[in-house]
């Protein structure tokens, strides 16, 4: 088992190395190597998960005195679930990329980037300690940077990749501090040992510790206030957006939170809860005014990630079981279950929609403005139907994937925090609204541009992943569908009973119908945004809300940070560069100048120096001069 895990961890690294070293100029072979790697990962990860054999293994990597850093595997149900998600979505995206990136000039770099991403992501999934997770955490950040920057000739892509990297660095620094603090408080960063300490009630808790670790998730999962990089990251190729910025990497933050669940304290959970809720609502509001098909999906991803973080922040749930007359209460980490469940379903339907949007963009010759689309239903039927399944899944259409996972979260909110429940329900309304708007503008009505009227369905590599992911989006919501190997996660999913069940069901269906109805009726299939015409004030307010963070950061960087940097630079020039560096060099130069004057090149002159030296020595020897 360990060999299999090690094999699929190292395989993409080998693939990336082979592509980087030998296949830079042969994109076709590189694509084949990378896709075969992804296929092997998908197959072996499913086998690993289904064999229901869970293990931990670790070996020491380096040691400084008492402190050792180890690399190891912790393969439990949580990791198995994440592994299967990464494997399946990764394979779909690789296959889709074969068609989507077929004519790209830098195909080898692209597929090499995908391989190095798969390696990094699997590292996070398998990591058995926080240090190892941090290493791979940075590696996914790097591969995300490389892939966003794939079309680096475009200034916007180059800027977006830098923005993503820097925003992630901010969060990662908090993560690193959290890891150090965890070691300081508990003497270990090994997840298994932390869990054991938690069982034995010897764990040292602190509110700051989970919040610092949460900083990492804020950066990677793009929560407020570090969310700004994710919408810009859409500059990358669309399959990359599907894999990295929708299904897997951005979900790594939630996965990490579930990994360190044992360290959580109520105060920290409250902060996490409200951060997630605020992100969910804010991003949903932003999504309404977007024109770019990928930007809508990006804000939708942000919103759904907020949902997951909020679900995690809702924490545990106590459920009472009755066996005849005796009742016993069980507290279980419902937050982990709900968050991971939504992560799973979201990974499938959001990857489906991103790949669908990629298919649309490919069909429309790289037109991304939804107001220039329309009428694609008849021109791209397969994309239309699969995309429709994706939309239905995300808005919580009954008996599709999103319906179940969203209900689980809503029920948990209903049971633990009514205010959050109201906000999440409002977010669900908005989600239905902007998704139906997107769907209607893209696929219905008459084509509004030449590109749209000449749109065509792509080849088999483009459509096959769509069909596969659409099937998963149909069934992924049924916990019974999964083999009984993920019980460590799925047993934690909160399920409503009785009256609660009815309330949640009615709420979720109601918000979906209200949102979808509003979305369908408010926007006309027109080349201009109906909302901007009918309610310009509201539209401007939403656009300003979307821009507020970027404006604030621009102001901070230009006005505050830049001035501080200039101030520090001034001191650096005077003291470091001026006094210390130049001063020392000048002193030595002066000594050299003096010494050079003695070297006259005349033998007789040297005899005088010799005489002078002799006199000096004599004076010293006779005691006239003392040192």
């Amino acid at each position: 088992m360990l060999q299999h895990a090690l094999f699929i961890l190292l395989l993409p690294l080998v693939s990336a190395a082979v592509i980087a070293l030998f296949l830079r100029r042969s994109g076709g072979i590189a694509a084949a190597v990378s896709t075969l790697t992804a296929a092997s990962i998908a197959v072996i990860s499913v086998i690993l998960a289904l064999q229901n054999e869970r293990f931990t293994a670790s070996s020491e990597w380096m040691r400084f005195g008492d402190f050792a850093i180890s690399l190891g595997f912790k393969f439990d149900d949580l990791a198995a679930l994440m592994l299967v998600i990464v494997g399946l979505v990764g394979l779909c995206v690789h296959v889709f990329s074969l068609g989507y990136m077929a004519d790209d000039a830098a195909k080898a770099r692209y597929f090499g980037g995908l391989s190095i991403f798969m390696f990094s992501m699997l590292g996070i999934v398998f990591a058995d300690n926080l240090f190892m997770m941090y290493i791979f955490w940075e590696l996914v950040g790097f591969s995300s940077y490389v892939l966003i920057n794939h079309w680096h000739e475009k200034q916007s892509a180059a800027d977006a990749s830098k923005k993503a990297f820097i925003a992630n660095r901010v969060g990662d620094f908090g993560f690193l501090l959290g890891i150090v603090m965890c070691y300081w408080l508990n003497g270990t960063v090994n997840l298994t040992e932390l869990a054991a300490k938690g069982e034995a009630h010897t764990l040292v808790f602190s509110t700051l510790l989970p919040l610092l670790l949460f900083c990492g998730a804020v950066g990677k999962s793009a929560q407020l206030p570090l969310h700004v990089w994710l919408p810009d990251a859409m500059e990358g190729p669309t399959p990359v957006s599907a894999l990295i910025h929708a299904a897997t990497m951005v979900a790594a933050g939630i996965y990490m939170l579930c990994r360190i669940n044992v360290l959580m304290v109520p105060d920290a959970l409250t902060v996490i809860l409200w951060t997630g809720t605020a992100t969910a609502l804010y991003a949903a509001l932003c999504a309404i005014t977007q024109r770019d098909i990928k930007k809508v999906l990006a804000y939708s991803t942000l919103s759904q990630l907020g949902y997951m973080v909020a679900a995690f922040g809702l924490g545990s749930l106590s459920s009472t079981h009755r066996h005849g007359t005796d009742a016993h209460t069980v507290v279980f980490a419902a937050g982990v279950g709900a968050a991971m469940f939504h992560l799973t379903t979201h990974a499938f339907f959001k990857a489906l929609m991103f790949l669908g949007s990629g298919s649309v963009i490919h069909g429309c010759h790289h037109e991304q403005d939804i107001f220039k689309m329309g009428g694609l239903r008849t021109r791209m039927p397969l994309t239309f139907w699969t995309f429709t399944i994706g939309v239905a899944a995300i808005i919580g259409f009954p008996y599709l994937a999103g319906f179940f996972s969203k209900d689980a979260i809503l029920y948990l909110a209903f049971a633990n925090n009514p205010a959050v429940f109201a906000l999440l329900a409002l977010t669900a309304v908005l989600t239905s609204l902007y998704m139906v708007r997107l769907w209607k503008l893209t696929f219905l009505g008459a084509p509004r541009s030449d590109q749209a009227s000449h749109a065509h369905e792509g080849g088999l590599t483009l459509t096959l992943p769509l069909v596969f992911l659409a099937l998963l989006s149909l069934v992924a919501g049924y916990t019974a569908f999964y083999p009984n190997v993920f019980s460590g996660v799925f047993d934690l999913i909160p399920v409503a009973h009785g009256a609660d069940h009815t309330i949640i069901l009615i709420t979720s269906v109601a918000v979906m119908i209200v949102g979808a109805g509003l979305g369908f009726t408010c926007w006309q299939s027109a080349p201009t945004d109906t909302l901007a015409e009918k309610a310009p004030g509201l539209f401007a307010a939403l656009a300003a809300l979307k821009n507020s963070f970027d404006r604030a950061y621009d102001y901070y960087v230009a006005k505050i940070q830049q001035r501080f940097a200039l101030f520090v630079n001034f001191f650096e020039q005077i003291f470091l560069a001026g006094l210390i560096v130049r001063g020392l060099a000048g002193f030595v130069g002066l000594c050299g100048l003096g010494a050079r004057a003695l070297h006259v090149g005349n033998l007789n002159a040297y005899v005088y120096w010799f005489l002078l030296g002799l006199v000096g020595l004599w004076l010293f020897a006779t005691g006239v001069v003392t040192l």
Partner: protein
């Protein structure tokens, strides 16, 4: 007839040394400078012999044997260097031997 005293020997030795020293200082020909150096060496050995004679010990004399032996070797090396120098540069004037400076 007066016998020479220690002072006479030391004076002679000092005068020889001074001649040698000023030779090194003022002459420009490497060969002459080298001879002046040897003169200084011999002047100092003369002083040693004189001290040895007037103290009635053999220490100075023994020293002189060693100095003469080493000086012979040194002269051989020194002259060889000067010959090689002349072959290479066709001059032994120190004014013209200033390649290191330029």
């Amino acid at each position: 007839m007066t016998t020479a005293t220690l002072n006479d020997y030391v004076l002679l030795s000092a005068v020889l040394f001074a001649i040698g020293f000023f030779g090194v200082l003022l002459r420009r020909n490497t060969l002459v400078i080298f001879m002046s150096l040897e003169l200084m060496l011999v002047a100092s050995t003369l002083a040693l012999v004189a001290f040895s004679r007037f103290n009635g010990t053999m220490d100075g004399n023994v020293f002189v044997f060693f100095i003469l032996t080493v000086a012979a070797a040194e002269v051989a090396v020194g002259l060889a260097i000067i010959v090689a120098l002349f072959r290479k540069r066709h001059t032994v004037q120190v004014d013209e031997l200033n390649t290191l400076k330029n």
